[in-house]
Amino acid sequence: MDREKLKNVISEVLKDVDVVIGYKEGFDKLHATPCFITKPEQIDQIILNPLCVQNLASYLPSLKKKVGVVVKGCDSRTIVQYMQEGLINRENVVVIGIPCTGIVSVKKVLSKINHQPIVDVIFGDGSTVIVKTQAGEEKLSISDVSPDKCRTCLYPTPVIHDHLAGDPVRSDKKPEDVYKDVEDLSAMSLEERRAYWEKEFDRCIRCYACRNACPMCICQDSCIAESREPHWISQKSNLTEKFMFHMIHALHLAGRCVECGECERACPMGIPVNMLKKKINHDMKELFDYQPGVNPEDKPPMFTFNVEEKKIEEHKL
């Protein structure tokens, strides 16, 4: 990840757009935060390292201006999906691609350092990160603290971009491994799986961070979870209602989820909510041989209709 190259690209792009969205250092050295660059003198704030975790493409549908956006490979799929669904005007978006060598999960780092306050974070040779805390220093291998999505990432280089700030990176991951975690979970018995999800969802506080961080959750202020007229879901904070909300979230993303993992990253209660969406994506892949956010020309299966589907044999029953 080449920060200088990125800064040069942003300087150029900024001449033609109203705002460029990138990353800057957040409230401590471990947390990056999105930044909205409108003036050349702000470019020096820009950082680029494995802490740049947020999916910045998520802001695009709500911005009614010309925007430059910094995207990693995973984030770029969001833009493709937006194009498929007509949610952005491509002419108003300048995509600044980052060939990505992997990011870190802040939650995993915090867990490794026992949640001690951060003094400094230093990226060494590209494969390690040194985290200095008030209690001492910890050298971590990036692969040990990478989010699950990086471990099976097939698109480290953005699938769509107008500029590429670095040399393309090839994936060395196998496509058949992408849904291994889903298959492992599906291998559990129904009772085990039910118990697993009940335990996880019991922690949900219905704060909707997962929904609002999701780039494809486009209902936003009209979400059925909060709609008071009609009153679809009760405001009770019991397991049934929590389950209901998460199931609806997952189902609304069938064949649309670009697996950026923002829902799970945003969850303050550590619930593996991304797994549900991956499960449905896995089914969509099996049924329709479709992968969201890869090719702008594709039509998402739920946006179209075929009298005969190759793998759905309803007419032969």
Binding site: T33, K199, R203, R206, C207, Y208, N212, Q220, P268, M269
Partner: protein, 366 residues
């Protein structure tokens, strides 16, 4: 009887278990990598090493609370006539909130002013509050985002607590603060704590020095109304906000709610559930008009409530206890302490808390 107590490490769990035979005890538990308050049971994996991800406000102010249940019965003779039967919920069991942090305990004093210290106290909040003993754990370090000492609190601030526990090398030092708290000293296994007082104080002072100070030396940041009213400031500062409710729902001082009737065909419940000012629906009016249609206006209200309106109404008390959860868990790292710092009137300190507020700065040697 001794004024303070001491519980050796090996008797710690038995002590908590003992409490659980007398009341419902809520304790911080580790689930995966998340710390959450749960009712105590022997199987729970207790965690006192760091503050819970979510504040324990739900113990006294549940996320959804049944105010009453109702049932409609049709008169078989005259079907137009419907009887309504109401059952009020008055079930407030004796509770011990064990292992809250000083910022959590201070949070309840923020709720007390609108909910109990008025002419029309809230019976549900008041009922639970009176039944609850708050046993607080002094913080062993300062965590990411913490800024309690800049809003009049501290890692061993006693405001709102009935007793405070400080971890020392060989065990736990217990300081009762209220009458409710004093009963802890009579529990089996609690020894005389006087020998550990010095060690505990030293521990508390060391942690106090670690907490970051986003507002410089002031402990009462004074928000400039002129800066506060500039919409451009909010638009810029909140461009990244996702407008989710993580900050409000994790917050130990956010107390807004909504009331809904949850119907089935002939029966139902009127429930009160948490609401948050970061949601679009929060201010949506029946006409369809929304006075706060954008996220920056909503966050402006959030900061305004905590640092301007509440202090104006309640003797200059700031309605933020600096727990840092909204900073720590914000998906895009919105930092309320940075925002307030940028709104500070240069060189000004807010006036001291009013003398007629009984909670103001009480018993605070944190």
């Amino acid at each position: 009887m001794a004024d303070t107590g001491f519980i050796p490490k090996e008797k710690w769990k038995a002590f908590i278990e003992g409490l659980s035979t007398k009341a419902q005890v809520w304790v911080p538990c580790l689930e995966g990598d998340t710390v959450i308050f749960r009712p105590f049971s022997k199987e729970r994996n207790l965690c006192f090493e760091r503050p819970a991800n979510s504040s324990p406000k739900s113990v006294i102010f549940p996320q959804s609370d049944t105010l009453f249940s109702f049932k409609f019965t049709k008169d078989p003779e005259t079907p137009q006539k419907v009887e309504v039967e109401l059952t009020e919920n008055k079930d407030f069991p004796k509770t011990i909130l064990f292992g809250a942090r000083p910022c959590d305990a201070r949070g309840f004093t923020v709720y007390d002013r609108p909910y109990t210290e008025t002419d029309t106290p809230d019976p549900y909040y008041k009922g639970r509050r009176e039944q609850t003993t708050i046993v607080t754990m002094a913080c062993q370090t300062s965590w990411a985002g913490c800024f309690c000492t800049s809003v009049e609190g501290g890692p061993a601030d006693k405001t709102g607590s009935d007793a405070m526990i400080t971890e020392v090398e060989k065990g736990y030092f217990v300081e009762p603060i209220t009458e409710k708290g004093k009963s802890l000293l009579q529990e089996p296994g609690v020894e005389d704590g006087s020998a550990y007082q010095g060690e505990a104080r030293k521990e508390q002072d060391a942690v106090r020095a670690m907490v970051k100070k986003p507002f410089g030396d002031t402990v009462r940041p004074k928000v400039s109304k002129e800066l506060f009213d500039k919409d451009e400031f909010w638009e810029e500062a909140l461009a990244k906000c996702l407008s989710c409710g993580a900050c409000t729902y994790l917050c130990p001082t956010c107390y807004c709610f909504n009331i809904t009737d949850e119907h089935q065909t002939d029966k139902g419940e009127r429930i009160r559930s948490w609401d948050g000012c970061m949601y679009y629906h929060f201010t949506l009016e029946a006409s369809g008009h929304n006075p706060r249609p954008t996220k920056f206006q909503r966050y402006k209200n959030r900061v305004g409530h905590k640092f301007l309106f509440y202090p104006e109404k309640y003797n200059n008390v700031i309605a933020c206890s600096g727990c840092g959860r909204c900073i720590r868990y914000c998906p895009v790292s919105v930092d309320i302490s940075e925002i307030v710092s940028n709104l500070q009137e240069p060189g000004a300190e807010a006036p001291a808390q009013g003398g007629n507020d009984k909670k103001a700065g009480s018993a605070s040697n944190g």
